[in-house]
Amino acid sequence: MSDQLIFSIEVFLNGLMAGVLYSLVALGFVLIYKASGIFNYAQGVMALFAAMTLVGIMEGQVPFAGLINATFGTEVRNFGWTVPAFAGIALTVGVMIVLAWGVHQFVMRHLVGQDPIILFMATIGLAYFLEGVADLMWGSEIKTLDIGLPMGLNETIDRVTYEMFGYGFFIDNLDIVASVIAALLVIALVLFAQYTKQGRAMRAVADDHQAALSVGIDLDFIWVMVWSVAGFVALVAGVMWGAKSGVQFSLSLIALKALPVLMLGGFTSIPGAIVGGLIIGVGEKLFEFWVGPLVGGATENWFAYVLALIFLVFRPQGLFGDKIIERV
């Protein structure tokens, strides 16, 4: 087998792993968009916020320490304890649920029935607000997130591929874990949506508000639930991404990568978000590998957007999105 092909396989696998993370972020978008028609620009910041909160809680940081010290002239930094990863995640989930409730109660509830563009603007505001709150609560320095996930080279794959091709693939353990967790998350979400009362109600709300009300569904409750689930998905994405490249502001920018993913997969399709993420992940890595050297590299910055643009021209509803049919 030629070297080029062997390298391509490795690049493909790594692309798949990167794609999983795109899928996770895109999934958060789809959940909220389906249920409430809101394009949540803040999804990426929610991932950042969740990751920062998790680090802060685990390290026993005092929230709003900077603010407290500046106001009262104190010198508090830490509670002096550390919280184990499991408890930290549970507490962070709690914080994300409170956040979901707050977002709905103070912002979205008052905007029900407004134009999509207004809802979109509200989420942009929310994104900047959340970013500020996250900095204020936990400080703006780059943090490392370690919840004990396996990291580094997977030696089994390295050895097996070395025996097969005479060249060991470099696959990060973290990426494998991320893929498995993402797959479990998606299965759980699908089971939840298909088979539970709340899931059924969620699908109903996504389909028709008025009809949902008439069968006794509390829209407010469902919306808070959806934002909570999206918050949880953001937490998972934030943890994976944060463990990989540190918890820092750039984490919120992965939200922008989710946009082309959604254009490929369709804004209303959960399988679309998954497949779209994988295509973008694989596509940009392979493109960089094959075409990158010819055009001076750095194609990963724009490849996803150009691909999305092509999709917009030929299939605007995405791969799995609802068909756009205009009756005349």
């Binding site: 059924r200 699908r203 028709d208 009809a211 949902a212 006794g216």
Partner: protein
């Protein structure tokens, strides 16, 4: 004959009608300066088919929306099953046992017929999220029980052949029937039908009339319906409220209403001299 003095009455075809289920007392509803409903009172009794009729714009749909909680009237009281109802959201009204259909059909277009009808059972599902997550025993039993009710209704309304069809693919008349099925699945204490025959051809209208009568007969469901087609209503209903320009201009059996001069004027127009 009407015997409003007692706890009910016997209809012309010999059905026994029970006590008052729902009572509207002096309802007034305004939108800004426009008065949609002016000081209207009437009641709905257990087991009866009660119609609200009137020309377009008379305020019939507004009245139905007041009953189902979509509108909150500025004045007046709503009494349901002997208790005064505080202002409620539509989903709370639904949970009290009032199901409805919509004039313009509000179905879950992306779901199958079966799933649509199943959503009608949501108010009857009690098992918590954790129990469902484990998905054993109670949750399973509940699901099975709900499915039985739903299948019975699907059979009853003769929509077995489209159980698995996505609603978006159905023709208008069938959609109306699916919506009725979903409302029935809630086993409502009061069923509200907003123009169940609007936009139908004669044959579909006859089918729908038959289903409404059968539902009332078979399940003993109390039904309040809105219609502007006088003919259909008169054959169907036990008692009729007639509205015009937001006011009640008649209330009684179809025969009484038909001979009411004000009603005749409203429908046929009256010469102003």
């Amino acid at each position: 004959m009407l015997d409003a003095s007692g706890d009910g009455y016997i209809t012309e075809d010999g059905r026994k009608i029970g006590g008052v289920v729902m009572e509207m007392r002096n309802i007034t509803l305004r939108f800004g300066g426009v008065v949609a409903i002016k000081n209207i009172s009437f009641d709905i009794r257990e087991g009866e088919i009660r119609a609200i009729i009137g020309p377009n714009g008379a305020g019939k749909s507004s009245m139905l929306n007041v009953i189902s909680g979509f509108y909150v009237p500025q004045e007046g009281e709503v009494w349901f099953r002997g208790e005064k109802r505080p202002p409620m959201k539509p989903y709370e009204v639904a949970r009290q046992g009032i199901a409805r259909t919509f004039q313009n059909i509000a179905l879950f277009e992306g779901m199958s017929v079966l799933d649509n009808v199943m959503t009608g059972r949501l108010t009857h599902m009690k098992t918590g999220l954790m129990a469902q997550a484990i998905w054993k025993g109670k949750a399973e039993e509940e699901e099975t029980a709900n499915r039985e009710v739903v299948e019975k209704i699907i059979d009853f309304l003769e929509i077995q052949h489209i159980r698995k069809t996505p609603v978006s693919r159905l023709p208008y008349g069938l959609k109306k029937r699916v919506e009725l099925a979903r409302a029935l699945a809630a086993e409502p204490k009061l069923l509200l039908l907003d123009e169940p025959m609007a936009g139908m051809n004669v044959e579909e209208k006859e089918d729908m009339s038959r289903f409404i009568l059968d539902v009332n007969d078979e399940f003993g469901t109390t039904i309040a319906l809105i219609e502007h087609d006088m003919g259909v209503v008169m054959d169907l209903s036990d008692r009729v409220v007639v509205m015009d320009y937001g006011k009640k201009i008649g209330d009684g059996t179809p025969d009484e209403v038909r001979n009411n001069q004000e009603v005749i004027d409203a429908y046929l127009g009256v010469a102003h001299d």
